[in-house]
């Protein structure tokens, strides 16, 4: 039985698109490429839209084939296992980034006295529980909370629009072209969340206009992120790089809201939901790829050990966020790109091959019928 409905996949995609882009990414990108970060983001999203197109093609042509089945037809099961492990590594870094960001945000903005462990253990337990329950629970939870999250974020957006000065964002396109590539390379881990669609393959109930719905949701989420960047840069102008936590700063430094009340806190809290859900999605993918690589049976004990290990590695890792970003930029970004593109090419080839096989079989049957 298929685990996900179309809307659940759309909700997963929407949360993935917005989750980690509204906190530190705006200021980090500003440091690389200034306000032209908007162009970099547009380019990233166009790339993502193209990749999603390939995935949708695979999904609609072979709705019952999972990622493993598709990739195995080209490179065999051992080849798939190697690729699955590489995906695990990619998500390992992505999860670290998410935890780094959330931890910094909670410690700096939300709490005065902050205990790292007291934050991490419950977060991992909740995210781990959702992941352990499987794709269906992940999808349903995202679907149930997606509406609340979007309303909350939209409210934040509306509240911050009052101070908007569009002239601050202009002129665009003044940065050096090499900075664009640098920004592209540095922010790799924040993007590519459409990867999760790989793991939805074969598990989505096909409905009418599936591709249209997916692209509509992706388009709306993308526009939201772009609009957020636009408002952020327009509000803070040259000081954009100093505002590390965009989602809270965008409303905190808006006098109109500050004089009203601290209502922006509620939207910030709602935004925290996306991070927990994104964490659950990533742990699910990590767990699944790990299981598929090593052929382990999924049990409660395994999931618990798996979570504990990730938590321990995170707690004792020697990096701080800037060191981590540097490490990721140099060593991980090319690797992420390689894994993503390889998977896509393999899926595309597998889909075309399977289609040809199908049409050949169909042709043979017709001949026999005649």
């Amino acid at each position: 039985m298929k685990s996900l409905t179309t809307w659940q996949m759309c909700a997963l995609l929407a949360i993935s698109v917005i989750s980690n882009k509204l906190l530190m990414l705006p200021s980090i990108m500003y440091e690389y490429v200034g306000r032209d970060a908007i162009f970099v983001i547009i380019f990233k999203f166009l790339l993502a839209a193209m990749f999603i197109g390939v995935l949708m093609y695979a999904l609609t042509k072979n709705p019952d084939k999972t990622l493993r089945e598709l990739v195995s037809t080209i490179i065999g099961d051992v080849g798939y296992r190697i690729l699955a492990f590489l995906v695990f590594v990619v998500y390992f870094f992505k999860t670290f980034l998410l935890l780094f960001e959330s931890e910094l945000f909670l410690g700096s903005v939300m709490y005065q006295d902050y205990d790292k462990l007291l934050f991490l253990v419950p977060t991992m337990l909740v995210a781990g529980y959702i992941a352990y329950k499987g794709l269906q629970t992940v999808g349903r939870t995202c679907e149930a909370l997606c509406g609340v999250i979007f309303i909350g974020l939209f409210l934040t957006f509306l509240l911050s629009i009052s101070e908007l000065d569009c002239s601050n964002i202009l002129p665009l396109g003044i940065e050096d072209f090499s900075n664009y590539f640098e920004a592209l390379n540095a922010c790799f881990l924040w993007f590519g969340n459409y990867f999760l669609i790989f793991f939805c393959l074969g598990d989505v109930k096909m409905t009418k206009n599936l591709v249209g719905k997916v692209y509509t949701v992706f388009g709306i989420s993308t526009l939201f992120v772009l609009a957020f960047f636009f408002v952020f840069y327009a509000n803070f102008e040259y000081s954009s790089g100093l505002h590390k936590f965009a989602i809270s700063d965008i409303t905190q430094f808006t006098p109109e809201i500050a004089s009203f009340t601290k209502v922006d806190w509620f939207t910030v809290i709602i935004w925290m939901m996306t991070n927990v859900l994104q964490c659950a999605i990533q742990i699910y993918i990590m767990q699944r790829t790990f299981i598929e690589t090593f052929g382990i049976r999924k049990t409660q004990v395994f999931s618990f050990i798996f979570l504990s290990l990730i938590l321990l590695i995170y707690l004792f890792n020697p990096f701080n966020l800037s060191e981590f970003i540097e490490f990721v930029t140099v060593y991980v970004s090319p690797f992420v790109f390689f894994v993503g593109v390889t998977l896509l090419i393999l899926i595309l080839i597998a889909t075309i091959m399977l289609n040809r096989r199908k049409s050949k079989q169909g042709g043979n049957k017709k001949c026999l019928g005649n």
Binding site: W7, Y111, V126, K133, A144, K262, M273
Partner: protein, 487 residues
């Protein structure tokens, strides 16, 4: 048993320990020995004398030879008579209030339905009172309960299956569904589960419910309950299965989705605008009940800058000098509230008023004046306590959740409250009740069922049966196939 009426009667009486409430009338009618056995406190004397003893005495005057078949078909006047071969089965029927007629010339036993139990009248159930709409409620008699639903559904598609559960109690259980509407697989699964129940006795329908739910340790009920025949009828018409248990006024319905608890029968007897408003009010009440104390604790401990300054000053003035931390203070008031609640339920009615005055007014007021608790905390917990009962079906669960949220608010602040909320949604999403996702039609989103979700449309626009759970014949106005064929 190769014996005559005397041996059978003796066997029965011995099996029943020659109890004083078991009556055995030995008759000789037209030369044939006939024993009439019944349990006097649970049998209807009128039926026994008018439909059994009197017709038998008339036969005696005709002086003809009689056998069991003749007595069954031509003598006894009772409406419901069965022929039983197994003596032990006959004994269990006897213990349900039926009368046994044993002829010396036959190995079979006639079982005459003469059941009579003293039961509570048909009253409006206190948990589902309505301003407008039917006020009938179920009582403890399964026959009454089944008849109340049967009266409302005059359809040949209504199917009932009688079962007995409990080795000692042999409690009557009736499973009811509408053929052509309820899903066959669901009906089969329920029947199989009930048949497989291994228990010594069933005292209430909750005993059956415990066996039917998939997650035994969940705090959430996975089975619908109702005390009103109009609600059960509506649920049957949607394609659900109803389970009646003798001795219980609570009828179980399956499959169950959480949102059923938000719906009240009165929603369907008033304008849909009003129903929509009240449903939103219920949802908000649930949020208040569960989240408010945790939120208050979190704000007090970690995020007081959220509170507008003037209000913060008021709170600070009232909370300064308190001996407890906000978390302990709130937990203490919740504990106090739970004790008062438990006491008021158990206490005789005429003491209830005094109890509420002592508890709510004097105790609360004195505690505030003594500087043990603060007025804002008292107000928050009181509001949460009241809103717990807005959706009475869920009050037990909400009460536990409130504790959890308060603890998380105290430990992790608002992030803890949010984490608890996400965990709760995920947990609810992982529950299924006989193929029905627990949070449906919210997730998975079922567009057509949204017509009867928080925003309710007029009844005339609800033309489809719910798609949140498996059922057949989705169109409400279309008769099931079997009926169409007959017509």
């Amino acid at each position: 048993m190769e014996q005559g009426s005397v041996e059978i009667s003796n066997y029965i009486l011995e099996k029943l320990n020659n109890n004083s409430d078991v009556v055995c009338r030995n008759l000789i009618i037209s030369g044939t020995k006939i024993d009439v056995i019944y349990v006097k406190d649970i049998s209807n004397y009128e039926i026994i004398s008018q439909d059994v003893l009197l017709p038998l005495s008339r036969v005696d005057k005709l002086s003809i030879s009689i056998d069991l078949d003749y007595v069954h078909k031509s003598v006894l006047a009772a409406g419901n008579i069965d022929v039983e071969v197994d003596v032990d089965n006959a004994i269990s029927e006897l213990l349900k209030g039926k009368t046994l007629v044993i002829l010396d010339s036959s190995k079979q036993i006639l079982v005459v339905d003469s059941t009579k139990f003293n039961t509570r009248g048909i009253e409006e159930p206190p948990t589902s009172a309505v301003l407008k709409g039917p006020r009938e409620g179920f009582n403890e008699n399964i026959k009454n309960n089944v008849s109340m639903v049967r009266r409302r559904i005059a359809s040949t598609d209504l199917v009932m299956k009688d079962l007995n559960v409990g080795k000692q109690t042999a409690t009557a259980v009736t499973v009811m569904w509408l053929k052509g509407i309820a899903d066959d697989a669901v009906v089969k699964a329920i029947l199989n589960k009930i048949k497989a129940i291994d228990i010594d006795g069933v005292v209430d329908s909750n005993y059956i419910a415990e066996f039917l739910q998939n997650r035994k340790n969940s705090i959430f009920q996975q089975i619908g309950t109702s005390e009103k025949p109009d609600i059960v009828t509506a649920k049957l018409l949607e394609g659900r299965v109803a389970i009646f248990v003798d001795g219980s006024p609570i009828v179980l319905t399956l499959p169950y989705v959480l949102f059923e608890s938000f719906q009240s029968s009165s929603d369907y007897y008033s304008k849909h605008y009003h129903a929509t408003l009240t449903r939103w009010v219920r949802l908000i009440a649930i949020f208040f009940a569960v989240i408010l104390p945790g939120f208050y604790v979190a704000v007090q401990l970690y995020h007081y800058d959220i509170v507008p300054l003037k209000f913060l000053v008021t709170i600070m003035n009232t909370t300064s000098g308190l001996p407890f931390t906000p978390l302990f203070e709130t937990l203490f008031i919740i504990l106090l509230f739970e004790i008062l609640n438990e006491a008021s339920v158990r206490m005789p009615k005429h003491l209830g008023m005094a109890m509420s005055i002592v508890g709510a007014l004097i105790l609360g007021d004195t505690a505030v004046k003594a500087g043990l608790i603060s007025p804002p905390a008292m107000m928050i917990v009181a509001l949460s306590g009241i809103t717990l009962f807005v959706v009475s079906d869920l009050s037990d669960q909400l009460s536990l959740l409130r504790l959890g949220f308060t603890l998380m608010g105290g430990l992790l602040g608002l992030y803890g409250v949010i984490l608890s909320g996400i965990f709760l949604v995920a947990y609810l999403n992982s529950i299924d009740s006989y193929g029905a996702p627990y949070l449906s039609p919210l997730s998975p989103h079922v567009k057509s069922d949204m017509k009867d979700f928080l925003n309710m449309v007029p009844l005339t626009d609800m033309k489809k049966r719910p798609k949140s759970f498996k059922n057949k014949n989705k169109n409400k106005t279309k008769l099931s196939k079997s009926k169409e064929v007959e017509e």
